[in-house]
Amino acid sequence: MSTPAAKGNVLLDVRGLRKSFGGLVAVRDMSLTIPARGITGLIGPNGSGKTTVLNLITGELHPDQGLVLFKGQNIFGWPPFRINRARIARTFQLVRVLSHMTVQQNVMVGRMFGADPTSPSLAAQDATELLKRVGLGGRDAVLAGQLTYIDQKRLELARALATRPELLLLDEWLAGLNPAELQIGIDLIRVIGRDGIAIVMIEHVMEAIRALCDRVYVMNAGEKIAEGGPDAVLSDPRVMRAYLGADHAAA
């Protein structure tokens, strides 16, 4: 479980993923490969199934069909906590923190129960370090519910990082930030990527996609409609059609 993968190795291999809710097919034959290093983008209009794919990978939902291989191991049917301990971490579309626990305790939970479980005292020290890394240094004793929006996002990131992931899944982590905060956020993600953690980011902020991603997958109505480098993908007429509707897809 703790063997590091060299860059270029496939870390996450998703094949033929399918999920429907009653009559609605949310994800249809979705495949993607994530390398051990680098940042991959997952974009598409609202309702295209991006978060569902995330939920399927992290075990929150069970796929109807398909295969999810992480470091060669089939993680289908694994409960979320086990997947997290296997070094896949995530953040949530609507930021979720443990409001009535302190900032430090929030991160401690990640450190204590993530991939390298440890005691509360050691977790406390590591948490303080991590909080400094994400820009929340010195705020250890503040109750998480009292943080500002961007600080809560940082906290969520710190908590995810505390679980010692090799793969980090960000669900619209840059949403709702003003330009200054956005730049800080982009830099933070870049640093994390450089530190050796593979990142998949679901995003609508195209500036971030261009700035950070090596590779981008585009989804629409549950299916993959394009993949490739960010510039290529973002000028692909099919992608523009998906976002803007057929009438507006001029060259």
């Binding site: 923190v97 443990l98 409001s99 626990m101 129960f113």
Partner: protein, 331 residues
Amino acid sequence: MGVLFALGAVALALLPLFVSSYIISVFIVLYANVALATAWAFFSGTTRYISLATAAFFGTGIYVLAVAHVYMPVAVALALAAVVGFLVALVIGLSTLRLRGVYFVVFTFGLTELVHQVINWWDIRFNKTASRYIFTDVSNTSIYWTLLAVALIAIVGSWYVSRIRLGYALRAIGEDETVARHTGVDTTRVKVICFALSASVMAFVGAVLALRYPYVDASIAFNSNWSFQVLIAALLGGPTRPWGPAVGAIPLVMLSEFLAGTFPHHFGIALGLCFVVIVYFLPGGVAPLLERWWQALRAPRDPGATHTPFSSRLAARLRAGASRLEAGGRT
């Protein structure tokens, strides 16, 4: 703080040497309530899965003792009661704690009646009797010390757990179970084990108290008022501190001594009103207020100490309860 606690414990242990039998009895009931309320808060106060089934486990303990004491020494029967309580809760937990909060609450709501009916039926059907006699010569003082010990262990245990990993897991589940799940916490296992632990303490307390009754039947053993009283004690005192439920149990037992004997049903009404008042005006219980008062006395250290109302913290519990009932699903 710890020194005070130890001194208090010793003082209480020596009490029977100086007071009347009646006072000893009152304290016995007090310790029982403290232990039950603390055990309840250990699970339901942290994870916010509200269990209305205290009486079911308490009654199970009474009944196990009533049946078993004929065949084995009292101490073994007591241990057996704890084990049975643990196992029953384990089964229930495994069935219902995988699902969301509302199902659990509803299940525990009916549990006391269920166990009551089943045991009644079993006894009448197979043993041709609906009641059991308890013949032991355990002294009041022994019961006093046993229950004092259980109450102290419950409080200390609660405090200890809150400082180790398990305590963090419990609180994380109570704050936001989805987050806990995705942060490496094996939520089902934590919930089930802690629920079972709390139930075994309740069963043990029931078994010890049973030693005072010459006679029990299913109706005596499985009385929902216990569920309710314990809930009030825990909520009044404050379910988020290890010593909170103990604080809440004291006025409750005092009131019970004055009212319950003479006006049992009026007592129930009074409890109900009390309860409603607590939920509206004292959602976090008395403990956070006492704490702030204590801190203010010692030094104005942290003016930002936040009062966190229990009810608004009961967010994750039943989080998807209502919507789950519409859309369904378990994880």
